[in-house]
Symmetry: C2
Subunit: 477 residues, 2 copies
């Protein structure tokens, strides 16, 4: 990436201002600050301007101006990915292109089970708009009140309902994308079936803004469930949890929409630090599962099915205790535990985080091997594994040894992550299950991918962004 002259930059910014108007461009440091760091403060950057176009035509015009001037662009949504993909680098050469003003729901078609939204629509707004027409948009994750659809699509976000409804990729029927040269690809198709040509849509989904800028999308909607059962189950081991999941899926006809594993230490931290957390069961267990099953019809039979399956799990020693929420309030209390364990880790000193996945059948093996490996590298380290075991996706977070120095512990971040990653590689897993690569893991890419796949990735990048102006230095080193 070569720098352009100050005069050329100023000229381009003037042109951009003419396109987006004075409210569409921020150049004061104080105005730009929220766009130049993510909320944890782990990634920070600099930029000559934050540009906030109001519609697709403005995005296209801005990209054309930048392409002509050679100015790189960092597209930004809600800025919640945690891997730094939406934050510019320190050098301050890239403009930030925020999609947040493009926040219209363009169309809802309940009969076609689709909704067309702009990139800047926040996830909770999508969920609510679907509910208003008695439909479900199933994507759900911690940052849903801030995360924007464009970013969720560009990072192929996961969340708690992947088991039943798939990743964001599976929820998108069509896309509108501004290409690196400023042309607009109108792929806003509302079709369930269309076998004409290569699947460009999936190339842009999960590309972290490095191949094009997603400006709108057609989303799939689903019927809303009519009955929901939430259970908190004590299990003796991760292996038992995986077997329990397979039994629940089979017995319920794939009605399991969420299945979250957590260790006792996770619960202990939450009970200690987060007000409102309850321990739903009387005796402690080394592992727990929170699971939700949903059905389209309200029937006693569904509840009986779940109770019978849990009863059989007790007999098979796959579970030792369980409680079923008797009301929506109780269900919320159980799900609150899942949120509290994320929050609680902040109060136990440094926490090194790994967002990893393995085949579901190898989750237990992964946790055993990884716990042993990190204990060897750092005696006293306190693993707090939790996550979407139904997708094989474990947030293998590691709290520092009690009484250790936080800064010294966190300085070992890369080293400890490499210990975890070695286990992941041995089990054919992924070192970024749902958060993406961003700035954070890009240097691992040649190793993860091997020479053939890495060549293919670079060839795709060179084809769609030959001048390397779209989110440079993200995802690929």
């Amino acid at each position: 990436m070569t720098s352009i002259s100050a005069a050329a930059l100023q000229n381009a910014l003037d042109q951009i201002r003419a396109v987006v108007g004075p409210t569409g461009i921020l150049t004061e440091a104080s105005d730009m600050a929220p766009y130049l760091a993510e909320w944890r403060g782990r990634f920070k950057g600099n930029s000559p301007a934050v540009v906030r176009p109001a519609n697709t035509e403005e995005v296209a015009a801005v990209v054309r101006i930048c392409a002509d001037a050679g100015i790189p662009i960092v597209p930004q949504g809600g800025n919640t990915s945690l891997v730094g993909g939406s934050i510019p680098y320190e050098e301050g050469r890239e403009i930030v292109l925020s999609l947040s003003r493009m926040n219209r729901v363009r169309e809802i078609d309940p009969l076609n089970y689709t909704m067309t939204v702009e990139a800047g629509v926040v996830l909770t707004s999508v969920q609510n708009a679907a509910a208003e027409v008695d439909r479900l948009f199933p994507l759900s994750l911690g940052a849903e009140g801030t995360a924007q659809m464009g970013g969720l699509i560009s990072t192929n976000a996961g969340g708690i309902n992947v088991l039943r409804y798939g990743n964001t990729r599976d929820l998108v029927l069509g896309l509108e994308v501004v290409l690196a040269d400023g042309r607009v690809w109108d792929g806003l198709r509302r079709l369930r079936k269309n076998n004409t040509g290569y699947d460009l849509k999936n190339l842009f989904i999960g590309a972290e803004g490095t191949l094009g800028i997603v400006t709108a999308a057609v989303l799939k909607l689903f019927p809303r469930p009519r009955q929901s059962i939430t259970a908190f189950v004590a299990v003796p081991s991760p292996a038992a949890a995986v077997e329990l999941l397979a039994r629940l899926r089979a017995a319920s006809g794939d009605a399991v929409s969420a299945f979250e594993l957590m260790s006792r230490r996770c619960l202990d931290f939450a009970l200690k630090h987060v007000a409102g957390t309850i321990d739903p069961l009387s005796d402690p267990s080394p592992w727990y599962v929170i699971t939700e099953l949903t059905a389209g019809t309200q029937s006693d039979a569904f509840q009986e099915t779940v109770e019978t399956a849990l009863g059989e799990a007790f007999e098979a020693e796959l579970a030792t205790d369980a409680t079923l929420a008797q009301s929506e309030t109780q269900a919320k209390q159980l799900w609150f535990i899942r949120e509290a364990i994320v929050e609680a880790q902040k109060f136990e000193g440094g926490s090194i985080k790994n967002d990893v996945s393995v085949p579901v059948s190898r989750v237990a093996e992964f946790i055993d091997l990884a716990e042993a490996a990190v204990a060897k590298a750092c005696p006293g380290i306190r693993p707090t594994p939790f996550g979407h075991v139904g997708d094989g996706n474990i947030h293998f977070n590691l709290s520092q040894p009690e009484g250790a120095d936080s800064a010294a512990y966190l300085a070992r971040w890369d080293e400890i992550c490499h210990v975890v990653n070695a286990v992941i590689f041995a089990l054919d897993g992924s070192i970024s299950a749902e958060h993406g690569v961003g700035r954070f893991k890009k240097d691992e890419m040649p190793t993860i991918k091997g020479p053939v796949e890495f060549d293919l990735l670079r060839a795709v990048k060179a084809t769609l962004d030959p001048n390397g102006l779209l989110n440079p230095g993200k995802m690929l080193p």
Copy 2:
């Protein structure tokens, strides 16, 4: 495409024979014949050799030899697509690379709900292997006893369960692909979540063998349903059918796995020509639906739900009569009708076929407009629309006017298809919903795609197959 000398060709074939052995290469016209035409006889071609490698290494070696010699390759599976994508051209420059000997199931992991298969495994074998471990592989279509997984993946095949389980694309977790230069991309991942890099997998799925040769795949499995309800419903119109579908989906919690619409004429043809076809209802109706709903648990409540929803549909005048199969035999009788209507069209003279899709909410509008348009172009023409209305995918087939000359009618194929396509374009639909482009529809691609998307498709092709040796002249003109 330039020809190579006879000596260079012979030299390459000798090298190929050394790789695959004498049983792996066919050069006699009589041996090659089944590989050079599809079963309807619509597409025929010539070839210097049909090569049948036994494993991925042999495929890679053959591709390297062809790449060096400049010999184009037509990959071939079960040869059932009906659009000529797997048939070489008449000039006889391309070798046919049949994957049929690569027919091993490499691995089944019931706990991970995955199966790894080679490209040549026939679809029914995959379905059976899944059933043996109490799992479901939901892809199901007419040609399932012949179609091979590599071809199904390369054409992103659809079928009757797309509504519930998605297209083939949605059923694939990982791929192994031999690239145009003979390198092997090992993307056989068994992960539900893996956000590292661009989605190469979906680029090869549905690419009709023009970007690489699929040699193996990791497939998603599902729990087997425990209860199935099949209903044959008389509906007054396609619009009523679409509304009925939305109600059934909502009432049953998305338990509708198939929902097939057909006109009375379809049923009449089947009753007249196909022995064993029954008319399940006493009074004739202009339109019918065959639908299947499945549940994970056996319960009376499920049956009651469906009956209640149908009762409400009668009151809302969305349906006029219905019968529910009382046994598996009865269910098979109802589904036999769906198969018989395809067969029956052969006996009514020439039939011009359109595999099209529109948003589900526009199916009724499409049928009305398209019937009017073709009647104007060809008075007396007899439309026999049927198909997967839940996906917006209608097989808009058109039997000749009674007593017309078959050959003269079929000579108007392109003209009549263009009349249908004009309606499809007006409704934002697709002119190839599930069969693909192949040789048949490639010349439509610039029109369908528009300049931006067509440029992108060509750029992708040029990146992955720079010398244009993989299935040349298919999909893209």
